[in-house]
């Protein structure tokens, strides 16, 4: 009886909706750790480099009770691509973030670096590393296959360890494949806390600022 009572009192979380065409549901081992690190900070500030996603705002608001700053780097990249000014991206990205250094506790890069050339990536990584507070974390993933990218990804956080990845059109660009050594060098000043190779052959990384 006791066991039955316990069983009935357990409320299972709602199962995520099945992925629609063009969507992928991905289990993440690293993302829960990112949330845990940011959640430990008092009054955390979260910087999201992706497009604004309504459910994510609700998720982060409830889970982290944080201030969320949206800086859609993908929109910046697309504007530069349409204008034929990818070469000027490093200067644009250097001035995009008006915030003070050491003012952010968590950064969501998603896969932004796949769309940037090495110089722009280096500039962005250095700026992000400077924005992080000590003890803060940066989450991102890096593609490992050299292909032409025709879509950006929009990630919706379904649960702490479950991400729904959707795509939307991009001006085609060759992916910049970064090996682990390149990534570590780019994020100088940050330490790699987690690095996991996903089934999608992307490398999921968590960086910490000591």
């Amino acid at each position: 009886m006791f066991w039955n009572a316990r069983k009935s009192s357990v409320v299972a979380p709602p199962a995520p909706a099945a992925p629609r065409a063009g969507e992928v549901l991905t289990r993440s081992k690293v993302f829960p750790k990112f949330l845990a690190v940011v959640g430990r900070q008092p009054n955390p500030v979260l910087l999201d480099l992706g497009p604004v996603v309504g459910p994510n705002i609700a998720f982060f608001g409830e889970r982290l009770a944080c201030k969320i700053v949206i800086e859609d780097v993908f929109a910046t990249i697309e504007r530069a691509a349409v204008a034929g000014a990818r070469g000027a991206l490093s200067a644009t990205l250097a001035s995009q973030f008006a915030r003070e250094s050491a003012s952010v506790d968590g950064i969501l890069c998603w896969d932004a670096f796949d769309y940037l050339d090495r110089e722009s990536g280096r500039v962005l990584a250095a700026r992000l590393a400077a924005l992080l507070r000590s003890g803060g974390a940066l989450y991102g993933f890096f593609g490992t296959t050299d292909i032409e990218l025709t879509h950006y990804t929009r990630v919706t956080v379904e649960a702490e360890d479950l991400l729904r990845v959707r795509t939307y059109p991009a001006t085609p660009v060759r992916r910049t494949v970064l090996v682990t050594r390149d990534v570590n060098r780019m994020f100088e000043g940050l330490a790699v806390a987690e690095s996991v190779l996903l089934k999608t052959s992307a490398r999921e990384c968590l960086f910490r600022k000591p």
Binding site: N43, V52, V53, G54, I57, A58, G61, A65, C66, K67, I68, V69, I70, E71, D72
Partner: protein, 193 residues
């Protein structure tokens, strides 16, 4: 049977006469009363520069530059609206364009095609797919500051009679808008695009 107008009518009290069926001209501030609550629409050809405050629900379809303050009510920024202002209200629904910070004591709701360039401060924020947003979202400070407006609301009776007939006021740096005295003639300070 068809000559309904000629039939004797029951005597009416001092209740307000129903609004005419003829559509209002767009270039005016119009007040539409709904049962149980007040609602004011600002038409799409209305341009307001200054400080707009109200104690009833407000829908803006025109342009506002300056400041919008509806502390206890819902502000709906319509699809045609272009707001360049600091906005504060109980609930803010954005379907048009806003350039400026939005503060709500209850909720900010940016619908699909809504666009906001500015910072949001509210305990609850909803952003629809297709909406544009650039800025920061602060749900924490809004939650902490929620106690004060809620306490203030508790001390005032619900649906308290507004101080002015329409309870919409505009404090002008450059121009002023007051509710029109004569419906046929829009006030001179309301500019049409």
């Amino acid at each position: 049977m068809w000559k309904r107008d000629e039939a004797p009518r029951p005597p009416q009290s001092a209740a307000p006469t129903p609004a005419p069926a003829v559509p209002e001209p767009p270039a005016r501030v119009e007040a539409t009363r709904q049962p149980g609550r007040d609602l004011v629409n600002i038409g799409k050809s209305v341009v307001i520069k200054g400080e707009l405050s109200a104690s009833e629900d407000l829908t803006i379809e025109g342009q506002v530059e300056g400041k919008v303050d509806l502390r206890q009510n819902t502000l709906t920024i319509g699809t045609n609206a272009r707001i360049t202002a600091q906005v504060s209200a109980k609930v803010v629904i954005v379907m048009g364009h806003v350039h400026g910070n939005i503060s709500a004591t209850e909720k900010v709701d940016i619908r699909d095609n809504g666009s906001v360039d500015g910072d949001l401060s509210a305990p609850r924020v909803a952003i629809a797919e297709g909406a544009h947003f650039r800025g920061s979202i602060d749900m924490q400070q809004a939650k902490a500051g929620e106690a004060k407006p809620a306490a203030a609301a508790a001390s005032t009776p619900p649906h308290a009679a507004p101080a002015t007939p329409h309870a919409v006021s505009v404090t002008p740096p450059a121009a002023s808008v007051t509710p029109p005295a004569a419906p046929a003639k829009p006030p001179a300070s309301v500019g049409a695009r």
